[in-house]
């Protein structure tokens, strides 16, 4: 390792916040997000010396998080969406607009794979092909998950009109 090369500690310190935000969107739960990110960072640390392009380490952590979630949602019981969300107090503890909060609460109710598809497509700005690769599914599955996610959200919030 050269003296100018980014160390894992430096990487973790610099990228913790944005990666935590991604983890939160993927899990919909603050505690789970922290656990998921810690676990993904640990795996990244172990493989740090083999990650040649340190600039791509963000993508490595994100992929690790998605893979961990994927291994959970392969178990059918975890795939089920729930109407009972963890009680996180008024406004879910988030200082966001009411319409955004309403939509986020519905997004949180989506099955994890569906939610992950939305996060990768619309927050991480991945193409359908890249999203499919990250999730380990076909492009058709990404299209289908996106379609059904939008359908469910529209059905849940028929009157929602987001203000600009």
């Amino acid at each position: 390792m050269t003296g100018t090369e980014l160390t894992f500690s430096e990487f973790m310190a610099a990228r913790w916040a944005p990666l935590y935000r991604t983890a939160y969107l993927l899990t919909g739960d603050q505690h789970e997000a922290e656990e998921l990110l810690q676990s993904a960072l640990a795996k990244t640390c172990v493989k740090w010396s083999s990650i040649r392009a340190k600039g791509a380490a963000d993508a490595y952590v994100r992929r690790s998080m998605v893979h961990q979630l994927a291994s959970r949602w392969r178990r059918p019981v975890r795939e089920l969406a729930t109407d009972e969300l963890p009680d996180r107090g008024h406004s879910g503890g988030l200082d966001v607009r009411a319409d955004h909060l309403a939509l986020w609460e519905e997004i949180r109710r989506l099955p994890p794979r569906m939610r992950a598809t939305l996060v990768l497509r619309y927050v991480e700005d991945l193409t359908e092909e890249a999203t499919a690769r990250e999730l380990g599914v076909s492009i058709g599955s990404v299209k289908s998950q996106t379609h059904h996610a939008l359908k469910r959200l529209r059905a849940a919030l028929p009157d929602l009109e987001l203000t600009s």
């Binding site: 390792m1 160390t7 894992f8 500690s9 973790m12 310190a13 913790w16 916040a17 935590y20 935000r21 991604t22 939160y24 969107l25 603050q30 922290e34 810690q38 676990s39 960072l41 640990a42 795996k43 640390c45 172990v46 493989k47 740090w48 010396s49 083999s50 990650i51 040649r52 392009a53 993508a59 490595y60 992929r63 690790s64 893979h67 291994s71 392969r74 503890g93 988030l94 200082d95 966001v96 607009r97 955004h100 909060l101 939509l103 986020w104 997004i107 939305l118 996060v119 497509r121 619309y122 927050v123 939008l150 959200l153 529209r154 919030l157 929602l160 987001l162």
Partner: protein, 352 residues
């Protein structure tokens, strides 16, 4: 509702969520666990290897299924089974690429010794799965009969140790085809159990490796490293202490044997004289830190690495240009030199 609405909502939520401070200690603990898990995954002890070698000459075993992606190394070169955890079950991969799915649910493979494969089941019980002379799964029994905190198998496969929920360390030696002989029982264990050689053990205590040798009647020896220690190997009178970026070698008197070597991931050979370091699979002399050699694996990085027996490495690689998940290949490298493919596209071969 449009994709733009979704993007705006997710972005505003992402921006609004309070971000906790980094819990470096928690990450460090997970690093230690992940490192132990990765190195343990490929463990095959020499004594058990001999058992399977007897029947390893069969090209295809009855009941086994060959992965279409695997490149067999040939009947004359097959050897010990490599125990792996795949999708929550124990899989035995023979050196000719034959994959045996045992159906035994495991959370983590700890190692492989004279009495079979040692693994943790989903309830954290210590299982011993014996392998029959035709290479198939034999009996499976619950050795700990209760959840354990940590477990380790000696590199010669003749001893294993675990720490139970009451923080008692159990060090067992081989007897009558079972690990039934109590070498030591120590209550009030603290820290993490990292390694044992059957007589001694290394524990991680607050970022420092500590060597315990009760049979020698010596006080515990702290093995200092510049960075926090996160794992250790113990074999052949050598302790290899791993930090996030280096490995440091000590003898059993606590004397440092060489200067710290970069790139810590790797494995100590059963004789304690050689350490093989990833990602370039460099063989190092533990006494001097000098590079002894490196088998050619062009374009690939070692992701996990173990000694199958005193003369054979087992290496799992990824493509160097991606260094990411996928494109995994399992190799054996006799004498640490030329490597042969056991399984290509490991994930696909072991899935389903």
């Amino acid at each position: 509702m449009t994709p733009i609405d979704l993007r705006d909502t997710l972005t505003s939520v992402s921006d609004a969520v309070p971000v906790p401070a980094v819990d470096a200690l928690a990450v460090e603990r997970r690093v230690s666990h992940a490192r132990q898990k990765r190195t343990a995954t490929l463990v095959v002890a020499c004594a058990a290897a001999t058992v399977v070698l007897v029947v390893g000459g069969l090209a295809v075993h009855p009941g086994g299924d060959r992965s279409p992606a695997a490149t067999p190394s040939g009947p004359g070169q097959v050897g010990a089974a490599i125990p792996l955890e795949a999708e929550g079950t124990l899989v035995l991969v023979e050196r000719d690429g034959t994959v045996r799915r045992t159906g035994v649910r495991v959370q983590e493979v700890i190692g492989h010794g004279v009495n079979g494969v040692v693994a943790l089941d989903p309830a954290q019980h210590l299982l011993v799965a014996s392998v029959t002379t035709d290479g198939a799964l034999g009996t499976v029994h619950d050795l700990s009969e209760a959840p354990v905190r940590y477990a380790a198998v000696s590199s010669d496969g003749r001893a294993l140790a675990w720490v139970d929920q009451q923080w008692t360390l159990h060090l067992r030696g081989e007897m009558h085809g079972d690990w039934s002989y109590d070498e030591a029982v120590q209550q009030g264990f603290s820290g993490q159990l990292w390694a044992t050689d059957g007589a001694s053990w290394v524990a991680g205590e607050n970022g420092t490796a500590v060597l315990y040798q009760p049979q020698a009647g010596t006080e515990p020896i702290r093995l200092p490293t510049k960075e926090p220690a996160i794992a250790a190997n113990l074999a052949g009178g050598t302790v290899a202490v791993l930090t996030a970026t280096t490995v440091v070698f000590f003898d059993l008197d606590g004397r440092r044997l060489s200067t710290p070597v970069d790139e810590a991931i790797g494995a100590l050979a059963p004789d304690g004289r050689t350490y093989v370091a990833a990602p370039d699979v460099r063989l190092l002399d533990t006494r001097t830190g000098e590079i002894l050699g490196s088998p050619a694996l062009p374009g690939r990085s070692a992701d996990a690495i173990m000694w199958a027996d005193p003369h054979t490495l087992v290496v799992e690689t990824v493509q160097r240009e991606t260094s990411q998940l996928g494109d995994r290949t399992l190799w054996t490298c006799p004498e640490g030199r030329s490597c042969m493919v056991v399984l290509s596209d490991v994930s696909a071969a072991l899935s389903g």
